[in-house]
Symmetry: C2
Subunit: 408 residues, 2 copies
């Protein structure tokens, strides 16, 4: 592979080297930090120039950064994020679009776009991202790398700028399964785990039905491999078997809950800053803030009830050694500059993508995206979701999977 | 009981009435909101005049406030908090000490001091508080009312100023078990539950050994009642049966983890604001910020590992229908003005109190404090702690308990 320079990647907003004080299980590995996460002495810009100007430098490293440094990893700098962690595209109006090295005409995906780019370009071994509605998983899928969102609440978000606290998580983007497992195990404070096999793997029919035809085609081989590898543990099911009250079985219902909660909470986190200082945003992000501001807040209570219902449903359906398998994204990364306006139809890119990512977001579940490598198509990811709090089990399965690289 | 006016209570920092738009399960109930939580149009002062001045009014209600209003409850105003939610005393240097009506010479307890006072004074039916290290449970104990901290992450903290995100929770202070159950059920989006009985109730020996002699004496009757009520389900155990690797079995070990995490995270949340604006604090809070600033951050990784170990220990020890029983506090509320300096010895008020409250804080467990009413001593609470995510079960037991009122 051609070596890509930092400048070519456009992934970093600030470069520096923080050497670890001690040696540990991450010795020799380098990592980058999404610019939504504090590094002592630097401003956390959150992808927006006005935010950067108005907020003082962080006095200390975020807890997750301290954990990685204390495990021996070397920090290489801070990476571009979509403004305030909104957007799944990774096209920052002010700071540019980090390179997606495996599909240079396509977006890297957001909001952890710089972290995904830096990792995919081989500039770091792994990177810290955040994931509220897909911001680690989607760039991992787009850039052909590993990405994991943990169970909500299991990795400290202290020193991480909030977007929607009930769904915000710190996650990892990594170039290999082994690196992902090592870095996540540090953050989750997990003991070293043995390879494990699941009791059941549920392939969700409605999730695969959301895919573009070309993506469906690409998913066939990995699905075959999954069926071979897990053999008689694999069950193809409908969402209606999880939610027996649902008439539609549609994942779009999850997206609708996600949407209300994310708007309700992001307005709480960022609305008064916007109202008081009137910062400049790129057009798409401006629209996101308007949508949050205009939310009918009478919807909050009912949607919180639905959220908790779905959370309980998932945790009663899934056993501790069960996994769900879905596509990470329903489509290849969009071409750069192709999504100027957020379309709201159920068939649009945003709605279908968030229908997939909202399952883990709404139900607080851990999810890992695994890259599918084929010689003739852009990268795309396939995901395993575990039961809430079963991050260790999910990682032990991921660490023992053969991978999905198909050379012809 | 003599009627106490709003002015006499000193509980409120702002009074107003927000009528609910709809009717619901909380119809007719009034509630107050700790001034760490957003109400649209008002500044969230966090108990500190400089913070209040420097931050714009909230644009929207916090999610928890929306939920209560949408269930028909009436909001009566915002209540005094200890500065930035630090301190267990409830003596705000700038805004005064809200009245503890059942022990007027004693502190109400903090940091949800105004919420506890307003509830105990009968000015509202219940109040929103926040609890990181005891800030709902301790004022509930001191003021002779009910208080609950939920499982971490189950009630939205959007619109709530953070202190230590991995332990911050929104909780309720209430004048009766029934009101507590109703309000918590709305926030947790729980279906109405039937009364249930626990499989096992573990009375933790080391927790009761932390009590002052007079408190131990007061605990005797309620413990007898608990033994009668739950009969052969009650087991008196040592912490060593939960943590078999622990040599000491001391709850002080939990406090040490709590202390590192709380300082690490609060510096992330508030440190850069302090460094950039040099706000004025009361002496005790100033000391808290200094302690956070001076934390050796190399301790973070190891203490996060201990935290997760204790979390896993608790969740493997406790079944879903098991409860732990401990005193809420080891001592009656301190006399007003008696704790000028934070003492750091293991036998001091802060260390013993936080040793008890850190169990739920560190292990993310739900805890309810129940008032013990005796004619001849100040109020004190006894607590039940449930397994993580078993808030519904804990509430169903609390709702069916006879209460601990001893008239002689």
């Amino acid at each position: 592979m051609k070596r890509i320079s930092m400048d070519e990647s456009g992934a970093f907003i600030e470069r520096f080297t923080l050497a670890p004080a001690v040696s540990g299980v991450l010795d020799g590995l380098t990592f980058a930090v999404k610019d939504l996460i504090d590094v002592a002495g630097y401003r956390t810009g959150c992808g927006n120039p006005d935010w950067r100007k108005q907020h003082p430098p962080a006095t200390v490293n975020a807890v997750c950064v301290e954990q990685l440094l204390a495990a021996g990893a070397i920090c290489s700098g801070k990476t571009i994020t979509d403004e305030m962690a909104f957007s799944l595209l990774g096209e920052n109006h002010f700071y540019g679009t980090p390179l997606n090295p495996r599909a240079p005409d396509r977006v890297p995906g957001g909001s952890s776009c710089g972290s995904a780019s830096a990792t995919a370009c081989g500039l770091v071994d792994f990177a810290l991202g955040t994931d509220t509605g897909g911001s680690v998983r989607i760039p991992a899928s787009n850039c052909g790398i590993y990405g994991m969102r943990p169970t909500h609440g299991r990795i400290s978000v202290a020193g991480v700028n909030p977007l929607s606290p009930s769904m915000d998580t710190v996650g990892i983007l990594a170039s290999s399964a082994q690196t992902l497992v090592r870095a996540m195990s540090v953050l989750l404070a997990l003991p070293v785990s043995q390879p494990q096999k699941p009791d059941r793997v549920f392939i969700i029919r409605e999730a695969f039905e959301l895919c573009d035809p070309d993506v469906s085609e690409t998913m066939k081989e990995p699905l075959e491999l999954i069926r071979e590898f897990f053999h008689n543990k694999v069950h193809e099911i409908s969402m209606r078997e999880i939610d027996q009250q649902s008439e539609s079985g549609l994942l779009y219902d999850w997206y609708e809950i996600y949407r209300v909660m994310q708007r309700a909470e992001s307005e709480s986190c960022l609305g008064s800053w916007v109202a008081a200082t009137n910062p400049e945003f790129g057009p798409l992000i401006d629209e996101s803030f308007q949508l949050a501001r205009n939310l009918d807040r009478n919807l909050i209570k009912a949607n919180w009830e639905l959220r908790e219902k779905y959370y309980r449903l998932m945790n009663s359906f899934l056993g501790s050694k069960d996994l769900i398998c879905i596509p990470t994204a329903p489509a290849y990364a969009p071409l750069k500059g192709s999504l100027i306006k957020r379309e709201s139809s159920p068939g649009g890119y945003y709605a279908r993508t968030l229908s997939l990512t909202s399952v883990a977001g709404v139900a607080r579940l851990p999810q890992t995206s695994i890259p599918i490598e084929t010689p003739d198509s852009p990268p795309i990811g396939i995901s395993f979701i575990g039961r809430s709090d079963e991050d260790a089990f999910l990682l032990s399965v991921i660490g023992s999977l053969p991978g999905f690289s198909f050379q012809r």
